[in-house]
């Protein structure tokens, strides 16, 4: 059963948008994916209700507003704070994982080097 029908990917790396999208396509055609280049843009889109994701994938290292800054902001906003957020980053540093948990992310995924693995992860997350 598909758990989330709309996703928001916040990541400054355009290539990662492409990879994510490609993997997603192989998993499901029913899921809608929106992207934002950084935390600030993402907040704007969310506030303006230009995007209404059921799940947010959040990169950490981004210009203007990084992942943790975005997440803190998000948690302050009624109506937005309950949207589940999964950190999606190249780093796997335990400090980052810890901070993610503290800031309110429900999970932390290292960007898999393996395309198939990304597909598997997405499968696991999106489907029960």
């Amino acid at each position: 059963m598909l758990l989330y029908k709309s996703l928001l990917l916040v990541d400054d790396d355009v290539d990662d948008h492409e990879i994510f999208m490609a993997a997603l396509e192989n998993i499901s055609s029913d899921v809608d994916l929106k992207t934002a280049e950084n935390g600030l843009k993402a907040l704007q889109l969310l506030r303006q209700k230009a995007v209404t994701p059921e799940l947010i994938f959040l990169d950490i290292n981004m210009p203007l507003m990084n992942g943790f800054q975005f997440l803190s902001e998000l948690k302050k906003q009624d109506g937005l704070k309950d949207i589940p957020v999964i950190m999606y980053s190249t780093t796997s540093a335990p400090e980052a994982i810890e901070q993610a948990k503290q800031t309110g992310a429900i999970d932390f995924i290292s960007k898999p080097e393996n395309f198939s693995e990304l597909e598997l992860v997405l499968q696991r997350i999106l489907y029960k």
């Binding site: 290539d15 990879i19 400090e95 080097e113 393996n114 395309f115």
Partner: protein
């Protein structure tokens, strides 16, 4: 007849008087011989005299004096005659005399007196010869004088500065050349003067007290490497001197003076100072080099971090896009397919290497974050991390006696994570892996066998054992070398850094990591970690 009776009584009195006199002479503590002034015949003598004379009583008594003492006649016959003629006492004080005593010539020292005994008419009737032998005392005295003479010579010829102060005024009795040099004076101004008069510049520097103390208490005094300024060769030179004051004791143990010795130790002191300053210089240089090295290290670490961190991204993308390419290419000839697979494999390896290098370079950085870590919790975390793999392999991880200790939590995670990951990876095919992690305290005795460990700390030994494929014990050391692998990458994935990281973590914590194994017999990794820093 009254005259006869009174004559008898007089005679008796005389006799009585005589015998009293006789007793006196006998008992006198000095040698006494009374000779007739005219005949020079010995009429009375005592035992003491006989002793000194060294001739028998009977020989002396009643004999002509100069017959008895012929050997002394040449020297004293005239003197004796003078006494008789002039009635004036003659004294010979501490004279050396050769006497034939007991038949042998003897050199003795005597003090004697020729004392005229006058009659009522004033003429000398008898001569009393009083004699005392001084020989022993004189010999001792001579010895002392000889010794003093010898001492003087020693002092004069000594290769170190020496002098003698005599009396409470510390009169400079004798000093040698070196001491004059030391004082910067000639002998004329100094000998016979009290030291503080002769050397006014020595006043009020504490020497008065020093000397007095030695003189009064008899305790000797030494001072080492005292800096002194001496006028030498027309210049003022800085020298270093060891000097000592020793009391001079007389025969009766009283202190009569002080002997002072001063040794120039400038050379050894300057040598030592030179060595010390060289050592200080080297130490400073070493500290500088060390600092530069540390700086270098830091820069290298930063470089490694940045390089590997920034390298990860593009490599990851190469790998991922390669896979996507694989998927996308509809019809691919076999060769192309192989090429793509090779690209994928190589970039995958690159990624793993970069990750591990990054991890390794980061290890020394995290010095500050020591906390109380419960290793049981760490193992639980790891079981969670490897949940999928554990389930897949049906592995069992058992832990027991895991302590709490001071450590960097993240590094403990890495350490145990790597070891468990290895144990899972190198398990025997078709056998469910069993991994045992047990802890115990290392006894002092056991600790002493491990020379690499800090013997002043208390250590835990945590053992991670498996029943996997193991390795040849010969390789037990090299497996910890970076990039060293015992198996081919085809069979068992890995970069060969994992164990190097583990060992570095253990050493970071002041501990160590060793391994024991046998081919096909599983392996045990021994982690030594101190209880606290």
């Amino acid at each position: 007849m009254p005259d006869e009776i009174s004559l008898n009584e007089e005679q008796k009195e005389i006799d009585h008087g005589n015998s009293r006199f006789q007793k006196l002479v006998e008992q006198a503590p000095i040698g006494i011989c009374i000779i007739n002034a005219i005949t020079l015949v010995a009429e009375i003598l005592n035992e003491r005299f006989v002793q000194v004379a060294g001739k028998p009583y009977k020989t002396i008594l009643g004999s002509y004096y100069w017959d008895t003492f012929a050997e002394a006649a040449p020297y004293y016959e005239t003197a004796l005659q003078d006494v008789v003629d002039k009635g004036v006492k003659f004294t010979a004080d501490e004279v050396e005399l050769m006497l034939i005593r007991d038949g042998k010539p003897d050199y003795i020292n005597v003090t004697f007196v020729y004392d005229p005994i006058k009659g009522e008419d004033g003429t000398t009737q008898k001569v009393a010869i009083w004699v005392v032998e001084n020989t022993e005392r004189v010999r001792a005295q001579k010895k002392i004088e000889d010794n003093e003479h010898a001492l003087r010579n020693i002092i004069l010829q000594a290769p170190v500065a020496m002098c003698i102060f005599r009396g409470a005024e510390f009169i400079i009795e004798i000093a040698n050349e070196k001491m004059f040099e030391f004082w910067g004076r000639g002998s004329d101004d100094i000998i016979g003067k009290p030291v503080f008069e002769a050397l006014p510049e020595a006043k009020n520097q504490g020497y008065e007290e020093l000397l007095s103390n030695v003189f009064i208490t008899g305790d000797s005094f030494t001072a080492n490497e005292l800096p002194v300024v001496l006028p030498r060769n027309g210049k003022r030179e800085n020298v270093f001197v060891n000097f000592s004051y020793e009391p001079i004791r007389e025969v009766d143990n009283s202190i009569s003076g002080i002997i002072a010795v001063a040794i120039d130790v400038t050379k050894q002191v300057t040598n030592r100072h030179n060595i010390e300053s060289e050592v200080a210089e080297r130490t400073r240089e070493l500290a500088e080099v060390n600092q530069r090295l540390q700086q270098n290290n830091k820069e290298l670490q930063q470089f490694a971090y940045i390089a590997s961190h920034d390298l990860q991204e593009p490599v990851r993308k190469v790998f991922t896009y390669t896979q996507m390419l694989e998927k996308n290419l509809v019809a691919v000839d076999e060769r192309s397919a192989t090429y793509i697979k090779k690209i994928a494999a190589a970039s995958h390896k690159m990624l793993a290497l970069i990750r591990d290098v990054l991890s390794f370079s980061q290890l020394s950085r995290e010095r500050e974050q020591f906390k109380q870590v419960n290793l049981a919790d760490i193992v639980e975390n790891i079981k969670n991390d490897f949940e999928l793999l554990i389930e897949e392999k049906q592995a069992v991880i058992q832990s027991k006696n895991l302590p709490v200790l001071a450590a960097i939590p993240l590094q403990m995670n890495q350490l145990f994570g790597n070891l468990v990951s290895n144990a899972l990876k190198f398990s025997k095919k078709d056998t469910a892996p069993v991994i045992e992690i047990t802890g115990k305290t290392l006894s002092k005795e056991a600790l002493s066998k491990y020379k690499d460990l800090n013997q002043s700390l208390e250590y835990y030994l945590i053992q991670v054992s498996d029943y996997g494929i193991g390795f040849n014990q010969e390789n037990a050391d090299i497996i910890f070398d970076i990039f060293q692998r015992l198996n081919s990458t085809v069979e068992y994935e890995g970069t060969g850094i994992g164990l190097a990281i583990c060992k570095k973590i253990a050493i970071n914590h002041n501990g160590n990591l060793t391994a024991r194994s046998g081919l096909n017999n599983g392996a045990t990794f021994n982690i030594f970690l101190p209880k606290s820093r």
